[in-house]
Symmetry: C2
Subunit: 195 residues, 2 copies
């Protein structure tokens, strides 16, 4: 899941710690960089004309955000730390320069974006499945398809539940049902598909 290699020259990459509640940038700020969450969580939200704000995304461990900053002069949303968070900073200029010098790097980044598009689309599709049980099964199949036939989640199952649009209670219940029915095997955060 964590395909977070940005082709920024190492010398140009820095890190920063944000305290819970701290703002990384505001909507309208001049764009300077794109970011990767090392640990923590960044909330992205957009202000509307009426003063309201709508949540756009939560970036978790290993995820990149504000990629579009590369193609825009200003940020289109606020970025605020949900909890204490460490981020990696990839200056826009360094990245763009790297792309200009070495087109292969541009292709690498392009591939990174393309994979994200695919991944997000399939996550959206999963949300169209109404039944909690079926949704969990399809999700597991998707996650497990690549490696062997089991997966060990890095984050609490609670968070996995949220990411597929279920309350954690519902998610735990489905897992124990599936286990009882012998469709999966569990060991903490390690889940294996049977059959």
């Amino acid at each position: 899941m964590t395909y977070t290699q940005l082709p920024t020259p190492k010398a140009e990459v820095s890190t920063q710690r944000l305290l819970k509640g701290e703002t990384l940038f505001y909507q309208g700020d001049h764009t300077a960089a794109i970011f990767i969450v090392i640990t923590g969580r960044i909330r992205l939200l957009r202000h509307l004309a009426d003063g309201n704000a709508i949540p756009l995304y939560f970036a978790n461990d290993g995820e990149t955000f504000s990629e579009a900053a590369l193609f825009s002069d200003v940020y289109h949303c606020d970025a605020i730390a949900e909890k204490n968070t460490e981020i990696e900073i990839h200056p826009k200029k360094a990245l763009l320069d790297a792309f200009a010098v070495n087109p292969d790097l541009a292709m690498t980044f392009m591939a990174h974006l393309a994979r994200q598009v695919i991944n997000l689309r399939s996550r959206l599709e999963i949300r169209n499945i109404r039944s909690a049980e079926e949704r969990v099964i399809q999700f597991l199949k998707l996650e497990i398809s690549d490696p062997g036939n089991s997966i060990t989640f890095a984050s609490p199952l609670k968070d996995i539940a949220a990411s597929i649009g279920l309350s954690h209670e519902a998610f735990y219940r489905v897992l124990s049902t599936l286990e009882r029915e012998g469709k999966i095997v569990r060991e903490g955060r390690k889940i294996g598909l049977v059959g």
Copy 2:
């Protein structure tokens, strides 16, 4: 919504008509092109080891699909026409060559992908809103934020409902409630936000 400009040299672009049920490519086929749906709908689905298939995405009017083909030798899913569909074919080689010759084109495509990432993320976020009414309001705010304060949907409201994860009945009901409460103004597929 329809940001579908691919920087393929015009001479290299062709179109093709698919009948309902016809297959464009199979999982495992050698990748030759990426595509845009002009009109119709393409279903993307992935086969699993157990013989089952899971739906990955439905590409509708104006949408691109199989972008990842640029970075892979084989397709990772099947593409089948849901109904009679016309597509635009952008040969992989022509695109990659164009990128190599003119890095600006690569940046254009990159920007296209980045926008899609942003857009998909916000669609995903909208699905986290449980209340149908609130979900519709946030969706409308997102869609309308850019242009004036109203939007005219190109596709039937029925399809819009599906795209935000509501049954069409629920969607129609919410719309008429919002209209009754004076929060929106409607005229067929044209919807304006009030306030």
